[in-house]
């Protein structure tokens, strides 16, 4: 192992300092979550737990399990459907441009930047009108619709990189539009799908505003349940921190194992929020 160049020591010092700050909340979540009920006192917040206690996790899990299930039932179908829609839209908008498609595209993109408060009142009325208010299916529909802009954007940019000559060649061979998509573009789409699926999974899992305004207690996603758990005065801090970790775990695992693709989605012009 070669020694670190002495001139770089201050750089490492600053980087490590920031790394400690970034990890501090995780440390607090872990040590608080693993403490027993009587150990969670305000002055001893930073101390390591005396032995591992999983009662906090057990109680948090008991509270959050139905909502964890809701979130899975919501996130998985919504992610798959919105990715498929985005792939088809991206294919059309990159390989089969039609008059006006270059105006249509930014008009669609605008939908991913709007504050969702500005569509929330009609959305609630609409969901009540069609009888989907308070259901997981209704919430999934909402995430599919408002996921169209971002999934279309990522796939359009992804397909723009695939040479149009391949489409032309298949066309000359007599393949039709769907045939070209299915036999030429789709088999090349795996990396694009990985980026979009990770992005949508993370965003839908983490979402809160739609979750809190469009659901009934039975259909609340885990973020809403965590907020309710944390908002009630009687719940111990170790249960809250364990609950926060449980809520964070699925997206955190995705990030740790597939971080490369997560960052690619991030830089593809996509946005959190």
């Amino acid at each position: 192992m070669t020694a670190v160049k002495r001139s770089k020591v201050p750089i490492y010092a600053v980087l490590i300092f920031f790394a400690v700050i970034y990890l501090m909340p995780v440390y607090v979540m872990l040590v608080t979550g693993l403490k027993s009920f009587d150990e969670v006192t305000l002055p001893r917040m930073w101390h390591l737990p005396q032995g591992l206690h999983f009662d906090g996790f057990a109680e948090a899990f008991q509270h959050l399990w139905p909502n964890l299930r809701n979130s899975l039932l919501l996130t998985i179908p919504a992610t798959i459907i919105s990715s498929m829609l985005g792939s088809l839209n991206g294919y059309v908008l990159s390989k089969w441009k039609f008059p006006g498609s270059d105006i249509l595209f930014p008009l669609m993109l605008f939908g991913m930047f709007i504050p969702y408060q500005s569509i929330l009142i009609p959305l609630v009325q609409f969901m009540q009108g069609v009888g989907l208010y308070g259901s997981i299916a209704g919430l999934a529909l909402v995430h599919i619709v408002y996921g169209i802009p971002i999934t279309t954007l990522i796939f359009r940019n992804y397909y723009a990189e695939i040479p149009t000559e391949m489409v032309e060649a298949a066309r000359v061979d007599g393949a039709n539009i769907m045939g070209i998509y299915w036999h030429v573009l789709f088999p090349l789409s795996l990396p694009g799908f990985v980026v979009v699926v990770i992005w949508q999974f993370t965003n839908i899992w983490n979402e809160f505003l739609f979750g809190v305004t469009l659901t009934s207690p039975d259909s609340q996603p885990i973020t809403v349940a965590l907020q309710n758990l944390a908002g009630s005065q009687i719940v111990e801090w170790n249960v809250q921190m364990a609950g926060a970790l449980l809520t964070a775990l699925p997206t955190l695992l995705v990030y740790i194992f597939l971080g490369r693709y997560f960052i690619r989605g991030l830089l593809a012009g996509s946005v959190k929020g």
Binding site: P106, P115, Q240, A244
Partner: protein, 374 residues
């Protein structure tokens, strides 16, 4: 043969449009239709659970900006949101740029550092809010960190701090809008002046600026609508807690953008500057940083629009009735879903939409036009 080719070309014109139609209809209804409906609701007097659509025009907006709704809560929200946005953007850009430059120095373990700085992006704002609420508990958390090395505990109240500094009086909406318009006109004028070909257009913004000036001098502010009683606004230090939590979550994003930008600068450019005798600091000052300017602009737009519509983080950290950290997004939620003041909620939402559109629409137009030119 000729006929089938014509038929095929017709199919190839129609099928793509059919494929994209469901999405287009969904966006047309769920985005544009619903925005239109929200604008309409904001001009009615709908309050209470039973919808009522008596048209009252811009009265609700008038009440929000210069009226007595909730003792001027909306005005507090706007002031809070402006301060929050400035501090949040500043922190993310400074920290992100610093970390990116340091990581670009050929660091061992770069991947690990990058992973650590970016992981909060994968979390929900709700998780961030719950954890930082615990860290900012006044009698615990960060305040007792110094006691671990034997020092006195800190005494910050963090997000429940009720004090206000840099105070000023709300002057009504018109002077703010006219003042902002004058600043914009000045900026446009300066940028036109620096471009020889466009210098002839300078009189247009100059006249606009002059008109604003005359309006101020002629006593426009005194004669425009104002709040019924003078109202003190200012910067709430409680916002610092929210800025820290939000920057913790999103400064990794600016770091990733800057790092990608730094990696895109050819080494020859820096090498050439070094050959010319530039110090490492001068290389950054005169070569690298100017090339990163477009990244700063997109980071500001992306983070800026997030900060204008921020909701989840503040809601979980401080609840929906903590005035020092209140935001338009929270007030909209509370008016609509707690107070059943639907017209009021709709009007707040429309103002939020306009603020976001002012930032986003030029960006969308610019990036799609640039793409068309390529």
């Amino acid at each position: 043969m000729a006929r089938s080719r014509a038929a095929r070309s017709r199919i190839e014109r129609i099928v793509p449009i059919l494929m994209i139609t469901p999405s287009v209809i969904a966006i047309a209804v769920f985005v544009y239709g619903f925005i239109g409906w929200t604008v309409y609701v904001s001009m009615t007097n709908w309050r209470g659970l039973a919808p009522s659509f008596q048209f009252v025009g811009l009265e609700t907006y008038n009440q929000l900006f210069v009226g007595i709704f909730d003792l001027g809560r909306f005005r507090t929200d706007l002031v809070n949101n402006v301060f929050f946005t400035i501090l949040f953007l500043g922190t993310c850009i400074v920290v992100g740029l610093l970390l990116a430059i340091l990581l670009d120095q050929g660091i061992r373990g770069e991947g690990i550092f990058r992973t650590i700085y970016l992981f909060p992006m994968a979390l929900s704002f709700v998780v961030t809010g719950v954890v930082w609420r615990w860290l900012f508990a006044p009698s615990s958390g960060i305040n007792i960190l110094p006691t671990l090395i034997g020092l006195e505990p800190l005494n910050f109240q963090w997000y429940i701090d009720n004090t206000k500094i840099l105070t000023f009086y709300w002057p009504g909406l018109a002077p703010i809008l006219v003042g902002l318009g004058m600043i914009v006109a000045l900026g446009i004028g300066i940028s036109l002046w620096s471009n020889q070909a466009r210098r002839k257009y300078v009189p247009i913004p100059a006249l606009a600026f002059l008109a604003g000036l005359i309006w101020f001098l002629a006593g426009g502010p005194q004669n425009s609508p104002n709040v019924p009683i003078p109202e003190e606004h200012g910067f709430h230090p409680a916002l610092i807690a929210v800025v820290i939590a939000a920057s913790w979550q999103l400064s990794g994003y600016t770091m990733a953008m800057y790092l990608a930008g730094l990696r895109g600068i050819p080494e020859e450019l820096r090498e050439a500057a070094r050959v010319d005798g530039a110090s490492e600091w001068q290389v950054y000052r005169h070569v690298v940083l100017p090339l990163l300017r477009p990244i700063t602009l997109s980071a500001m737009i992306v983070l800026g629009h997030i900060s204008l519509k921020i909701f989840d983080l503040v809601f979980t950290m401080a609840g929906d009735a903590n005035m020092p950290t209140d935001m338009p997004g929270i007030y909209m939620f509370r008016s609509t879903f707690v107070g059943s003041e639907f017209a009021r909620g709709a009007a707040i939402a429309v103002v939020m939409l306009i603020m976001v559109a002012v930032v986003i629409v030029p960006y969308l137009v610019y990036s799609t036009r640039r793409e068309a030119e390529l």
